[in-house]
């Protein structure tokens, strides 16, 4: 089920919200979790019950392994924090074996459904949606238990809820177990949380329906015409794809984070305006944060991080980025995309970052944007060959102007408006404005300090909410008539 679909907006979501409201009133965490679990099961089973059952089985295996790992240690986990992250306790060999078994189980499922076809072309099997996301989530649980960051979950339904929680199940963000463990055990939603959550959710829908989809149409048109594109068309296409992938994925994260908040969860942010980064290192601190931190904590640091010498650091970086690329898709173009980013990070560590620091900020941003946009060509193209042809259209042939009606007919008033809005949304202008409005709305420290701005701030906040509501209503209407509504990250 897709968030921006009629069945979700008009059927699943209202029923879930009403059910959860009733559960919230009961005050029982068991009831709340039960409602969320049932709804999440229905949500995932909508794409096939067999996949939902597979997920249940996989979580059961991880549940048992987690208990066994915890049982084989001398339980130092009460009050454990990240300081004990790499501490090894108890029977180290047994625990390592259990962790290895868990990794093999989870990666095995992922490999079977996602990657086996790459190595055995005759093998075809439908991939459960969101498999990469939930596999990494459940693995984070095993790692956290192994490292003693959290105690093993005693309740199977609670562990299942952690993995199956529908807001983040199929397109992230990759929620780490230790981030939601407490909330699964007890949480409460108040009117402010619901307000903030719904506004965030609506913002996501608005971004997705109006901006990401519109940019996606142009990107698809351009990439569908390789290699006959003019230079202008190729750059227009990659600009739109650059905007689409960010708006699409961050919109889904907005929806997930917003819905999570409605249900009392606080998911961490997944994006922080990546296109304003001045270096590729900074880009990766702002892009798909939940994935990059996952790899940092569970792959890069265990490999030794940057503590084992320069060469080893570069090797570790390349390994992490090759895996990052491979995580995105079972195609060599994704691996190349990962290697490309890894190479830039190594170059920046080798001295490029120092040079970049000395040059004016606008040039730094242009460098980063160009590098990122060029990388997206590998990400979006159907094959490495297509990517090379596309890059040729961008950089080698110098034919300017529009030559394809498929592209020209998309250059409408609507598209130009959405393009400008997409560019504005990709930088923190709106966040700053909304932040100021919300800041004006914050209660004053004492009554005497209640400046006249508070009242005007409250009025502005209400007006901002009304604008969001109005746009949300329009987005829902748009959604009903739109035949083009893909979610890029669903296929991961």
């Amino acid at each position: 089920m897709v968030f921006s679909s009629a069945s979700f907006i008009f059927a699943f979501l209202p029923l879930t919200l009403v059910s959860y409201l009733a559960a919230e009133r009961s005050g029982s965490i068991r009831v709340k979790n039960a409602v969320l679990l049932v709804c999440s099961f229905i949500f995932y089973a909508w794409s096939g019950i067999k996949y939902a059952l597979l997920l249940c089985v996989s979580v059961a295996v991880n549940y048992c392994l987690g208990r066994m790992i915890a049982g084989s240690e001398k339980s130092p986990v009460q009050g454990a924090d990240t300081a004990g992250f790499h501490a090894h306790h108890g029977n180290g060999v047994q625990r390592k074996l259990l962790l290895t078994a868990g990794i093999l189980w989870n990666v095995g499922i992922l490999f079977y459904y996602k990657y086996l076809g790459l190595f055995v072309p005759s093998f075809h099997v439908l991939m459960p949606i969101g498999i990469s996301f939930f596999t990494f989530q459940i693995m984070s649980y095993l790692f956290d238990v192994y490292y003693g960051t959290v105690p093993a979950q005693r309740s199977y339904p609670r562990l299942l809820l952690y993995v199956m929680l529908f807001p983040q199940l199929i397109a992230g963000p990759i929620v780490r177990y230790h981030d939601v463990n407490d909330a699964i055990g007890g949480r409460h939603s108040d009117a402010d949380m619901v307000h903030d959550g719904l506004r965030r959710f609506m913002t996501g829908i608005i971004k997705k329906v109006f901006l990401a989809n519109e940019m996606g149409l142009m990107a698809d048109a351009a990439f569908g015409m390789v290699p006959a594109l003019s230079t202008t068309e190729a750059w227009l296409g990659i600009l739109c794809y650059t905007l689409q992938i960010y708006l699409d994925f961050s919109a889904y994260s907005d929806m997930a984070i917003g819905l999570g908040r409605v249900f009392g969860f606080h998911f961490l942010e997944n994006f922080n305006y990546p296109y304003i980064a001045g270096t590729m290192q900074e880009f990766w601190r702002r892009w798909h944060i939940s994935l990059s931190t996952w790899f940092r904590d569970y792959v890069y640091i265990p490999l030794g991080g940057s503590r084992r010498g320069t060469l080893r650091t570069y090797v570790n970086l390349i390994i992490v980025f090759l895996l990052t690329g491979f995580w995105h898709g079972a195609a060599w173009s994704f691996v190349l995309w990962g290697a490309y980013h890894g190479l830039f990070l190594i170059l920046e560590r080798l001295g490029l970052a120092r040079i970049l620091k000395k040059i004016p900020a606008p040039i730094r941003h242009i460098y980063t944007l160009l590098a990122v946009m060029t990388g997206w060509v590998f990400f979006r193209a159907e094959s490495i060959g297509d990517a090379v042809l596309y890059l040729k259209c961008m950089f080698v042939q110098r034919i300017f102007g529009l030559y394809h009606i498929e592209i020209a007919e998309l250059l409408t008033n609507e598209f130009m408006t959405m393009l400008i809005l997409s560019l504005i949304i990709s930088v923190p202008v709106v966040r700053i404005v909304l932040g100021k409005i919300d800041g004006m709305d914050q209660p004053a420290a004492n009554a005497g300090a209640a400046a006249s701005g508070s009242i005007s701030g409250s009025i502005l906040s209400i007006l901002a909410d009304l604008v969001v509501l109005g746009l949300f209503a329009l987005a829902v209407l748009y959604m009903l008539g739109a035949s083009f509504n893909p979610f890029i990250y669903f296929r991961f």
Binding site: H404, E409, D441, I462, D465, L474, V476
Partner: protein, 413 residues
């Protein structure tokens, strides 16, 4: 001090209210379909959608289908198609696009800056953005038509070719420059030019309505008195269609073994567009009223003359039977002649629809074999066969009908 405290309380109350306003507003958006469905029912109104729509088929429930999700997927489609007040919601959406961006909400229709609506497909074909027909293909089809015409002649039957233009021919100036300069085949002659050049090498009876319109417009507006095309339509106006129909009847009368009565046209203005004068407007599915000065028209025939044409000296019905293979242009044009009794019996194949005594309300078909044996029976009885060739469809002349007749010579026996 009290004023400040009161102020702080007011701010706090507003914050709380703000949350509830948003939550209620969110609920209201989710309830939009129900709201509009109730409002429509209370007001006794309903909205309809026009144009080609996709109709989702719900998959038969099966354990395998539920396990792999295909059943749920079909339910998804069904839900989105059966939302209460869906037509109202979609029209609101389309109206928003139309009003805010001044654009057509239907991807297949181009809204020109001057308000002219034109089908994109016809624009692309006329402007040679899509490849025009190859002369070899047209010549090959004409060779087949010649064979068919000879077979008909052998049976004492007649064949006419009726050429129809598309709207961009007359409103090219309305089309945005950015589209016009996208010509991919500027050096090749257009469909109409290829067709007329090849037809010049054959001795078919050709009614070229492009020539006919040229003769009408040469006299200026006072001669025309009505628009060729409405801004809101893709076909020529109902009035021009009638005028052309009468001209075609005269054309046949001069060349045919059968006689056709002379008709007169009466014209009046109307607020409500007559079909097909707003057919493109209809598929925009918006609330804005159609724009244009609309006319209604009808044919008046001298009854004595009609009687003379319809009966021979012995009082037997002497009107010809007719079969037409065409599209919507000729459908719009020939139907008044059929309705005014110019033919004894008729069968009209319009795109994928068939109208005849057997299918008075219009049956549908995809293969000509599906129409058998009625098609062969009608062909045996037919005295006049008319083939429409629309300039946009020269690359698919007569939609395979020429090939069907050529490959099935038995249908004339």
């Amino acid at each position: 001090m009290n004023a400040c405290r009161g102020y702080a309380i007011l701010v706090s109350v507003m914050r709380t209210k703000r949350s509830y306003i948003l939550i209620l507003g969110f609920a209201a958006v989710l309830a939009m379909p129900l709201f509009f469905a109730c409002a429509n029912r209370l007001l006794g109104r309903s909205d309809e959608l026009h144009g080609v729509g996709y109709s989702a088929q719900t998959k038969e429930i099966s354990a395998e289908g539920i396990l792999d999700g295909s059943v749920q997927s079909s339910w998804d489609d069904w839900i989105s198609e059966h939302i209460p007040a869906r037509a109202t919601l979609l029209k609101l959406r389309n109206q928003g696009i139309f009003s805010v961006f001044n654009e057509s909400p239907n991807a297949g229709v181009l809204l020109c800056p001057d308000g002219q609506l034109i089908e994109r497909e016809y624009v692309y074909k006329y402007e040679k953005i899509y490849p025009p027909a190859a002369e070899e293909y047209v010549r090959d089809e004409c060779d087949k038509i010649a064979v068919i015409r000879d077979r008909l002649r052998a049976e004492g039957k007649e064949l006419y070719i009726f050429i129809t233009p598309t709207k961009p021919r007359y409103y090219e100036g309305s089309i945005p420059e950015q589209i016009r300069k996208m010509q991919a085949f500027p050096d090749r002659p257009g469909n109409y030019e290829v067709l007329t050049r090849v037809l010049g090498d054959y001795d078919f009876e050709v009614f070229d309505s492009v020539d006919h319109i040229r003769s009408l417009t040469e006299g200026g507006d006072e001669v025309m008195q009505f628009p060729m095309y409405q801004q809101t339509g893709t076909h020529w106006t109902w009035t021009l269609g009638l005028k052309t129909a009468l001209a075609f009847a005269d054309f046949m009368d001069e060349r045919s073994a059968w006689s056709f009565p002379q008709g007169q046209m009466i014209i009046g203005s109307t607020d409500t567009p007559v079909f097909p004068d707003a057919d493109l407007y209809d598929i925009l599915n918006i609330y804005t009223r159609p724009w244009g000065n609309y006319f209604n028209a009808d044919i008046v025939i001298n009854e004595i003359e009609a009687q003379d044409a319809a009966e021979d000296q012995t009082g037997v019905d002497s009107r010809p039977d007719m079969l037409v293979r065409g599209g919507s242009f000729l459908g719009q044009t020939i139907s008044p002649l059929i309705n005014h009794g110019y033919f004894r019996r008729s069968m009209y194949l319009e795109n994928t629809k068939v109208y005849s005594d057997n299918w008075p309300d219009g049956g549908t078909f995809s293969e000509y074999e599906e129409l058998e044996p009625a098609l062969s029976e009608q062909l045996k009885e037919t005295d006049i066969l008319i083939l429409e060739i629309n300039e946009a469809h020269v690359p698919t002349m007569s939609f395979g009908f020429i090939d069907y007749l050529y490959d099935h010579p038995g249908v004339f026996d």
